[in-house]
């Protein structure tokens, strides 16, 4: 097992390791003797696989109301495709096209997205055209509004590649229909993974909760970000391949979040100054990123390596306050005690 250059393992009797440590390592290596573990793990995995495959092959576990929405959505998609065809032949804009975010025309054309509030608890698109037949059904489908830029961005952060731009499967179908009509039959989103029924139900329920309770909605977007995000989302709808991903930073030139921290981690061993610089770069590009805790660990280690004990101590205290349950907390606390 060992190679020639590998040092003697501490658990080996020939090592000069502390006897207590050797015994501890030997016991850890001996294992748990839990003979039931493989069976439990295998059964649990098979149960989960069966549950997942049940969505595809088994009876539909969703509530009846959700299934009925699916039928409505399927019918709506057909109607929208028809409306698109009418638009192509008559040169007018179908209702569904007006439903998509159109920043330039939003105010002027009257296709405004109403904000939730006491007098208007459920934001929805105000239909511009009234009438019977296809438009009514299309508007009915569009009662589930397209998510805002913040909602879409949050969804991508949760599951970066598993969710489509629009959460509702009905909206997705309609969106695909529009894409087909708009591009002469080439469906640009055809290869995107569809959300499972459970995902869609959860997303719809979450949106309904947000609509009912505006206070619990996603955090407000900074005012200066609004035009840029709006434009980007509009571009994402028009050109799905250019849709923003979860790791897109505030500044488009910054590297992906994980890459930035990996570089910082690597730099920590040789050039702590560079590691600190990368950590600061991460803080600037991803102030609310997914790896803030790791960034702080790296920054603290870099400060300690640079001999900046005062700054490190301050940062450790902040870290321990913010992440008391962190796996690194004991180490940080120890470093705080050990620092002069």
């Amino acid at each position: 097992m060992s190679e020639e250059r590998d040092p003697v393992r501490w658990a080996d009797a020939a090592s000069d390791c502390d006897p207590l440590l050797r015994r501890a390592l030997g016991n850890a290596r001996a294992g748990l003797g839990d003979s039931g573990l493989p069976e439990r793990v295998e059964q649990a995995v098979r149960r989960r696989l069966a549950a997942e495959s049940g969505h595809v092959h088994g009876p539909d576990p969703r509530p009846a109301v959700t299934r009925s929405w699916t039928w409505i959505g399927a019918g709506g998609a057909a109607v929208i495709a028809l409306a698109g065809a009418v638009w192509l032949t008559q040169g007018s804009q179908p209702t569904v096209m007006r439903a998509l975010p159109q920043p330039a025309a939003a105010g002027a054309a009257g296709t405004t997205r109403e904000q939730p509030g006491p007098s208007n608890p459920e934001p929805r698109l105000a239909p511009q055209r009234t009438g019977s037949g296809p438009h009514l059904e299309a508007d009915h489908r569009l009662r589930a509004p397209p998510p805002s830029a913040v909602e879409r961005q949050q969804d991508r952060v949760d599951t970066p590649r598993a969710r489509p731009t629009l959460q509702s499967p009905h909206a997705l179908r309609a969106d695909d229909a529009v894409a087909r009509v708009d591009r002469g039959g080439s469906n640009m989103r055809g290869q995107r993974p569809r959300p499972s029924a459970a995902d869609s139900d959860r997303a719809l329920a979450a949106r309904a909760r947000r609509n009912r309770d505006p206070a619990s909605a996603a955090p407000p977007r900074p005012a200066d970000d609004a035009p840029r995000n709006h434009a980007r989302d509009s571009a994402a709808l028009d050109h799905p391949r250019h849709a923003p991903r979860a790791s897109i930073p505030r500044q488009g030139s910054a590297p992906p979040e994980l890459q930035l921290l990996s570089d910082a981690q690597r730099a920590l061993r040789t050039t702590p100054g560079r590691a600190l610089e990368l950590a600061e770069q991460h803080a600037h590009a991803y102030p609310h990123g997914r790896f803030v805790e790791e960034r702080e660990e790296i920054a603290i280690s870099a400060l300690l390596a640079l001999g900046e004990h005062a700054a490190a101590s301050t940062r450790i205290r902040t870290f321990l306050t913010a992440y008391p349950d962190s796996l690194a907390a004991p180490r940080m606390a120890h470093q705080l005690e050990a620092s002069p």
Partner: protein, 174 residues
Amino acid sequence: MRAGSSDAFSAIVREHSQYVFRVLRALGVRGADVEDLCQETFLVVHRKLPSYEPRAALRSWIYGIALRVVSDYRKRAHRKREALVERLPEQLTAAQQHNLLEQQEDWELLDTLLHALGEEQRQVFVLYEIEGLPMREIAEIVGCPLQTAYSRLQVARKHIAEQLLRLRAAGGAP
């Protein structure tokens, strides 16, 4: 799932679950989360098994998956801190209970010492000292040059030894 792949998966779980469990625990996963993450790891193994290319050892491949599962676990906001010492089964004899208690105390000590390590040193230390993997394979698993892996092991050993001395000085270890 096809019958053949089902059998293969069962064999993989039988052969590697104890090892994965031990690695997860040594990498800082706590209490009941260990078995949950063990299941999570093998769920991923099952999904990715068709794309597995036997260039690397299966064990190394599974470890790489476990490493990512642990990484995700660490990112979650709500982590549970559970007691390391579990309740002893009542039907054990006194001698068995003594051995089990000793093992648990040893593990508690080792866990405390491992917490003194950075993530990278900890991975190398656990794979070398507990799992007994050769350094070349460890370097491939964690994705670093062989010399770097040696360096990490050396640093980890130094920190562990220092931490043990501190614990002894503080009366936290015999």
